[in-house]
């Protein structure tokens, strides 16, 4: 899909994904080595009452779910920014994670007529509970002339 195909309000829904305890520990050992992400025993008596995923991992999962839809493979020019990242609720092992991505704003580029800027809201839920939210801004190509 191209910039021209995505009006404000358009919402994508991703496939589900789960993070196993091993997924959570592997990521956290590299990128977020705090015991409530890496040590199930210690995590039980820690601030979250059990092992939870690193917030950084959850936003990466959400973004990957959107990419896997494949809709912007040809048109994406990358994203310069993300904002308002909220770790709304803990993400526990084996929770089924579903993400929606809603187009908040579309803006044609003034300097480069072949592209525009998209701002989207990511909402990841586990069941009925929103677990992670963030806004992402990226450039998308306009549909090439036929």
């Amino acid at each position: 899909m191209y910039f021209d195909d995505l009006p404000k309000g358009y919402t994508f829904e991703t496939e589900s994904r789960t993070l196993s305890q091993d997924d959570i520990i592997e990521f956290a050992q590299l990128y977020d080595p705090q015991t409530f992400h890496t040590d199930p025993g210690a995590a039980k008596t820690g601030p979250y009452g059990g092992l939870i995923a690193s917030g950084l991992q959850t936003i990466a999962v959400a973004f990957g779910q959107f990419i896997r839809l494949g809709h912007i493979v040809e048109s994406s020019l990358g994203g310069p920014a993300a904002d308002d990242v909220e770790y709304s609720a803990p993400v526990r092992p084996d929770a089924e994670l579903n993400t929606t991505v809603e187009v908040l704003e579309v803006r044609p580029s003034k300097s480069k007529p072949d592209r525009g800027v998209l701002r989207v809201q990511f909402n990841m839920a586990a069941g009925d509970t929103i677990v992670v939210r963030f806004v992402s801004t990226f450039f998308l190509l306009r549909r090439p002339a036929a």
Binding site: L30, D32, S54, V73, D83, Y87
Partner: protein, 151 residues
């Protein structure tokens, strides 16, 4: 406990992490799991792109920075997670072989109103490849207060 309590941080305080070299295999491994765009997973495709070669997922860049900060040990045992991040800006591509280090500056610190045993800090991260800034972001962190400071 090696980590600092809330009271030991002050606005303007700066820390610099050890450097880390990012390899091509690490870039691909992360992207295959979390950001499967050809720019991050497919060397041949990436070489044909405007970037001229494989680049790291922006999510990996900020994750590396967060890990580098934690490995300084400054919040070991005193960190309680946090409610989120603000103002993530990806400013330059990160390539295999780049040497990344992160500067963390305390931007704000206050005691929690609802939970007097902890406080809320804002850390501003600047990630550099040598001297070039590649990414910046702010993290909001809950941190324990020194036990004798509680009301």
């Amino acid at each position: 406990m090696p980590g600092l309590y809330l009271e030991e941080f002050y606005v303007g305080q700066q820390f610099t992490t050890e450097p880390v070299v990012l390899s091509e295999s690490e870039i691909i491994a992360f992207a295959e799991k979390y950001d499967p765009q050809p720019l991050h997973t497919d060397k041949a495709a990436a070489e044909k792109s405007i970037y001229g070669g494989l680049i790291a997922s922006g999510f990996q860049t900020i994750a590396i920075a967060a890990g580098q900060w934690l490995r300084t040990g400054q919040q070991e045992g005193t960190g309680l997670g946090g409610p989120g991040l603000r103002k993530i800006r990806w400013l330059a591509p990160v390539r295999p072989g780049d040497v990344l280090h992160t500067t963390v500056e305390v931007a704000d610190t206050r005691v929690s109103r609802s939970k007097p045993d902890r406080g809320i800090l804002q850390f501003a991260y600047t990630v550099r490849n040598d001297t070039e800034i590649v990414a910046t972001f702010t993290a909001i962190i809950f941190l324990k207060r020194r036990p004798d400071e509680e009301d």
